[in-house]
């Protein structure tokens, strides 16, 4: 008997929790982007697990699109980080407080 889907789902939930905790606590923009990648991968694991348990290829197709969107997001995000670093010489998100009123 194969591994039940709930094991993978619990693993994905834990991975999502770790990623969310990292986004909430770390202050470096680069680390926050890595934690966003962790959360996206948790969702990917969930999709693949449901694709297997429900026997539907649609879940795997969505994972394909999530990967593309993640690549685009990282590209633009790191471009923003580089542009901010040129002005501020720092990647800490706490110092980006110019927009507060």
């Amino acid at each position: 008997m194969t591994i039940p889907a709930s094991w993978y789902l619990i693993l994905a939930a834990l991975l999502f929790g770790i990623g969310a905790f990292g986004v909430l606590t770390r202050r470096s923009a680069l680390i926050m982007f890595m934690c966003i990648e962790l959360m996206l991968n948790a969702v990917n694991v969930t999709f693949v697990t449901f694709a297997r348990s429900m026997s539907d290829i649609g879940g795997q197709t969505i994972v394909f699109f999530v990967m593309v969107v993640a690549a685009a997001e990282v590209t633009v995000g790191l471009g923003i980080v580089v542009a901010v670093f040129r002005r501020r010489a720092s990647t800490s998100v706490d110092e980006l407080s110019e927009l507060q009123g």
Binding site: L11, L15, I18, L30, R52, Q60, F64, A72
Partner: protein
């Protein structure tokens, strides 16, 4: 106890994947050095690829390694090296009081809620063969064919939109990361020349007028003729 109910290789694969994922993920948020975080991220992504492989998503496992570990993490490392490794995290500066504890409590509540929700829901613990109307999952190479069919027929519009998204992302990244205002560069050069008459290569450039280029280009012609 659990290992008796399921086949041992499956349990071993799952345990390895879980170990890679959890240790890697904790490494990402716990490491002080961003380079170490990126390497932990690779470890976590390898674990994710292993879960894909164990669940008959072969193409996605390969794409995960190529796209994430091969491209995205390399991009992270490139930016980290480009900006210089700053270990100057200020762990004691908390803009919100008790943010760390609140984050821990919130994440714990969320994950526990998710797990209890999954333990009670019918689509996890109950009947698995829910007829969704989609195409059923094949194994092995048929899976890749199926994925290609699905991408290029059912999700064709989304696929084309993806192409547009990638173009926009590339143009946006170039625009954002470009060094802007070449006017400032000229001013800086002038300041340096005025400040100290250092060995500026400007003199060489000054003698290298377009006339030189023309004569240089003209002499070989004369020799050859």
């Amino acid at each position: 106890m659990l290992a008796v109910a399921y086949a041992f290789p499956d349990v071993l694969v799952f345990a390895c994947a879980a170990l890679l994922i959890l240790v890697g993920a904790i490494g990402v948020i716990a490491m002080k050095n961003p380079v170490h975080s990126a390497l932990s991220l690779i470890m976590c992504l390898l674990g994710v690829a292993l879960t894909f492989l164990a669940q008959r998503a072969d193409f996605l496992a390969a794409a995960e390694i190529i796209v994430y570990a091969g491209a995205i993490v390399v991009l992270f490392l490139f930016v980290i090296m480009f900006l210089g490794v700053d270990k100057t995290q200020h762990p004691h500066v908390e803009p919100l009081v008790g943010q760390r504890w609140l984050a821990g409590v919130g994440v714990t509540v969320t994950v526990a809620g998710l797990i209890t929700l999954m333990a009670n829901s019918h689509w996890v613990s109950g009947v698995l063969s829910v007829s969704t109307g989609g195409t059923a999952l094949a194994g092995g190479a048929g899976n890749i064919t199926q994925l290609g069919d699905s991408v290029f027929t059912t999700y064709l519009l989304a696929f084309e939109a993806t192409a547009g998204l990638l173009i926009i992302a590339v143009v946006g990244a170039v625009l954002l990361a470009r060094r802007e205002r070449p006017l400032d560069l000229d001013l800086d050069l002038d300041d340096e020349v005025e400040g100290e008459p250092s060995p500026a290569p400007d003199d060489d450039h000054g003698t290298m007028t377009p006339g030189d280029l023309v004569t240089d280009a003209a002499t070989p012609r004369e020799v050859s003729s």
